[in-house]
Amino acid sequence: MTVTTPNGFTLDNSGKRVVVDPVTRIEGHLRVEVNLDENNVIRNAVSTGTMWRGLEVILRGRDPRDAWAFTERICGVCTGTHALTSVRAVEDALGIDIPENANSIRNLMQLTLQAHDHLVHFYHLHALDWVDVVSALKADPKATSELAQSISPWPLSSPGYFRDIKARLTRFVESGQLGPFMNGYWGSPAYKLPPEANLMAVAHYLEALDFQKEIVKIHTVYGGKNPHPNWLVGGMPCTINVHDTGAVGAINMERLNLVSSIIDQTIAFIDQVYLPDLKAIASFYKDWTYGGGLSSQSVLSYGDIPEHANDDSDANLLLPRGAIINGDLNTIHPVDVRDPEQIQEFVDHSWFRYADESKGLHPWDGVTEPNFVLGPNAKGSKTYIEAIDENAKYSWIKAPRWRGHAMEVGPLARWVIGYAQGRPEFKEPVDKLLTDLGLPLTALFSTLGRTAARGLEASWAAHQMRHFQDKLVANIKAGDTATANTRKWEPRTWPRRARGVGTTEAPRGALGHWVSIERGKIDNYQAVVPTTWNGSPRDPQGNIGAYEAALLNTPLAKAEEPLEILRTLHSFDPCLACSTHVISPDGSPLTEIRVR
């Protein structure tokens, strides 16, 4: 049957159904089903979130000062970003200002995450969609060295270096124990890189794995550990003491120097390894223009990285805030996360229950009650699903909409909005990359464009880390060493009722937490996260979400190998632990307890 969705996509579910479950190299659990036509082109796509954790119901009745620690555990990959969103929401509710140093340190934490997460995503979650590890065994180390040296001044590029990497890889493969590379799609015609580019990428896969652990040490300095560093309502828990006794237990000169050194290394690695690799790999896939989905029509960003503390105006945010709809890049719509008409979540295709499922609810009024049922056309059983029925409820992810529109969020959304605003820090790197690759602007709206925007953003973030570290030092030099405001620390100083909202731009996109506080405890907590936007199922009008839209019309080289599906899904960097949530407004038990 063929239908056209209100957001302009044609779906045909009559062809062969292919199921990918689990979708691997993502955070959490995701299932995708597609229908292929006779040419193995995707004509229908169904994205199903397959996990649900119920964190928000757990938050009810807790101390709002503790909420950051609970919500941080929503995701250990984008670690810290939920904690930051949470402390912002609580501070917004209680009217707490933070010191300028705390703002700089929080930005450093968030930018460290952006740089780290994007790097790990590119090499360890996404690269194997483009890089054929087995082909690297055929590479000539000398030619690989020439390739590497032609694109970057990165010093690890000698023929001997690549010879060693090739030898290590060869022995690994010959051992017969292929570990994580077992049953990969090696040799598929969908892989386009020459052996030398594959070997270079494998070398950098290993280098990036060793290097990523250095970047996060910035979290360890300011937050005590990574993953899951510590945060504080009212500022940051670390203190600054550069002059006096006790400096060992605080941010002192040695700690500042350590952070500074890591920032330099991070800038070098991203600019000399990540970006050149991205460009080199992209140059072999210029003809693979699929996966644009919603990116050319509807994108959303809440904005982030405030230059100054306690100023949430658009002009103070270094990452842009705004919405683009219907592909009109000339109009950036203002976004107000408090407006009940703007952000709403729908559940008629999700495993939750509303009183009236034709309507959406703003997060401050959010209701979630689980309701796991399969549609009449599902195949298999309730505990052994062979095929999903997408005309009924089919995902643990809700369907958020902005003024009724399905939106894409993430690095590409941020960069498209920044580009459309004409801001040079976004426009110039995009134009340069496109020019170097000989591609038009429309090429940005694709799987590859999403992957490229992430790389450009990693570089942007690394350089902004330098900015905020220097700003922190300058502020200390000017005599300001405060990191926390504790004037409203005690609950007796709080209003009896309060509600607030906090937003960030997580690595994967727009993230918001909405909190209501009553008599010093959390009364209601709602998170709408990036993967809820991108991995959204259909809404009552039939609009499809970003994953489903991006998969459409993509040809598969082999119907039985989901390489192209993985490629496009990975370009969003899915995070499923983040994407599902629950709250019951009346506090009634949500589940029937069964003991096995």
């Binding site: 190299r25 022995r171 051992s175 794995l209 560093p229 632990a577 096995r596």
Partner: protein, 375 residues
Amino acid sequence: MPTSDTFYSQFRRAGISRRTFLHFCGVSAATLGLAPTMAGRIAHALETKPRTPVIWLHGLECTCCSESFIRSAHPLASDVVLSMISLDYDDLIMASAGHQAEAILDDIRTRYRGQYILAVEGNAPLGQDGMSCFIAGRPFHAQLKEMAADCAAVIAWGSCASWGCVQAARPNPTQATPIDEIVRDKPVIKVPGCPPIAEVMTGVLTYMLTFERLPELDRQGRPKMFYGQRIHDKCYRRPHFDAGQYVERFDDEGARKGYCLYKVGCKGPTTYNACSTVRWNDGVSFPIQSGHGCIGCSEKGFWDKGGFYQHVTDTHVFGVEANADRVGLAAVGGVGAAIGAHAAYSSYRRGKQSVDAQTTTSSPTAKHPHETTGN
């Protein structure tokens, strides 16, 4: 014809010298808290064994354990994955997906029956027919039970697998259930923490490979080598606790001087973990060193033990070498009273000393009264 390979031959073929290899063995011995003579045994073990298959499953979790694992500095995660184990299934990093991924589980289960390690990150929800977490269309607990049936041992990574962690906090809406309550006929080694320290994770794994035995566990199923002592016992701020010097509010004078965080909620006195000795991210810091109290993330049910900024009142603080088993037997009420009394006494002493200090600052020889009084 593919053949199985040993650590040492992998090292040699990777161009790593025997000298470097032996140095690695020495560092591993030190990390594990073993005598230097054990380095020889580690070297011998790594030279002669094929890589052990590891199946790493993910249930309800946030993936912080995997993220922590790849932060390991000694050994490097890349060396663990390429040279020490054969990480045959881990849906976070594996190349294949869908049917090709699931086929690996059957393959390893058959080919390495009783020989592979089952590493589990996250736990299994039993609510909603187990379908709050499903993989390949089936509940996670079904996959877990099948793979556990033929494994050698289970490693329960992190607090999710060990205790239930955040999704099992009250009221546990998905009925998230820890691994040892589902897998009952295999040894389950709990490596709790949210997440565990990277080098503790790789330390436990290399210990098992090297000595071909399970680590010695405490009553709660945790390796004694890393979870035998409380954070408080080895905390570098412990002298401030003993001297009654406390942070009263975040970012106060005491905080800047690195005083004890007990009064702003530090759970170090009740938390068994290696944070204050191994520290985090290659030894850079740990929560207390960076100004926040320990939240007790490796302890069972730590989410439901009161707020993170409330004082702990239920521990035994004076016996530094007490272990978890013995504290579990201690009279909790009396201990709580003891720590409260100590805090009160020491803050009295501190107040007294600052009065004393004020009275002596007029003398030029007593410019730093806190140093002279041992503060």
